[in-house]
Subunit: 216 residues, 2 copies
């Protein structure tokens, strides 16, 4: 069974722990701040107060044996870099690091970070796309006359059951899932009542899908 | 043509402006800090120094006439709330707001924010999912024996052309797009050389796709 550790329990680090637990995985939550460790106690398998920029700490906690360690120390770039260096120098196989800006990211790559994460930048880009076409979050042609789209629920269909939505009313289309906030509901319960910002993931015949979207 | 405004040019706000411009849209970038406005000058149609928590400013800039205004003021919760309130009270149709935490989000909804954005929390959730299955970022069954998956490029296929990847070698599968960082390349150039972290978006017959993934 894979072992995961998250260093730094800000919003990103904490949400990461929570979701790993939700998916049935084990995660060790670490932070130098006692208060944050307390808040993480029920969102991780174990939550420990530790200064992870120290070699002794990394050795003691055996972090080098973990499958993936995520460094989610946000503001303090120096500590983030030092922690990453220590982890890689001590043989940690995979280290992912949240970068504060492009320079931080460059340095992290140079010292061996396996993946850089930029939540704010990524989100800026995704939000820009949903501003440009309010009814559709995403549209992919699948070839063979099929397509998949993410349809945003605005005011018009608020309160309707999913199976009352126009996209649910064609046997040429299928509602594969819906997203509410950051959670995806696979095998969706079609009696669920829609809320603003919900996203239906619809697939089927491209022409039928395009027409349904056009009429939304 | 739609009018967009972004208040607060931190990483999220700035990335948002950049992407809107990239997609050919117009965007007004606003910040109280001169330095940030300077940095945004080439990433927006217009960049103005302004304290947007003031009614006079909102009236002067006619922000109430914009289609979507995004409040991306991060740390200063009070200013974020005040700015949102002013915009909604003055009749701005759609206001999206970056929330710092759940309490901030609750207050924002109560005062009329149309959408709440939590980049760190959203990203924590998505990253958790890619930690759980390193080869696959996402897998959706489409019904009718078809499926779509997002396949992550690890060390094994680094440097190969897309059309040399196992998923490109079946006439039952199609590479619809690939993602590099936060950019999606539709109608992909299959001679492109793969880098670690690239994501191929593959669709086709579900059983063939599953088998290809299993052998990655
Ligand atoms: N040496 C260290 N060892 C372990 N944790 C640390 C260390 N230094 C800082 N941290 C922790 O990193 C956490 C995250 O940092 P911070 O809150 O600055 O990031 P952030 O970017 O605001 O987070 P987010 O955007 O995810 O909310 C803090 O809880 C802090 O206590
Ligand atoms: N009254 C105001 N009017 C306009 N801009 C403001 C106002 N108050 C603060 N800002 C701006 O909001 C911007 C974003 O805030 P801040 O940098 O605290 O957020 P952040 O959460 O760190 O951003 P990000 O996470 O997106 O990088 C700052 O550039 C700041 O100058």
């Amino acid at each position: 069974k894979k072992q995961f550790a998250v260093i730094g329990l800000g919003r990103f680090g904490l949400a990461l722990c929570e979701e790993l637990m939700e998916q049935g995985a084990q995660v060790l939550a670490l932070d130098i701040d006692e208060q944050r460790v307390k808040l993480a106690a029920d969102k991780a398998s174990h939550a420990i107060i530790a200064d992870c920029s120290s070699e002794d700490t990394v050795a003691e906690l055996k972090l080098d044996e973990y499958d993936i360690v995520v460094v989610a120390i946000g503001d303090d770039i120096n500590t983030s870099i030092l922690t990453t260096l220590v982890l890689k120098e001590m043989g940690t196989k995979t280290v992912w690091v949240k970068a504060k800006n492009k320079f931080h990211a460059k340095i992290l790559y140079k010292i061996g970070a396996d993946r850089i994460i930029s939540p704010e930048r990524d989100m800026g880009i995704r939000i820009a796309r949903s501003m440009l076409d309010r009814r559709v979050f995403d549209f992919l042609a699948l070839g063979s006359g099929l397509a998949i789209a993410e349809v945003v629920i605005g005011g018009k269909h608020l309160g309707e059951r999913i199976d009352e939505h126009p996209c649910a009313k064609s046997n040429k289309l299928k509602i594969l899932a819906y997203k509410r906030g950051a959670t995806i509901y696979d095998q969706p319960d079609l009696s669920v009542s829609l809320e603003i910002g919900d996203i239906l993931i619809v697939a089927g015949e491209e022409e039928v899908l395009k027409e349904k979207i056009r009429l939304l």
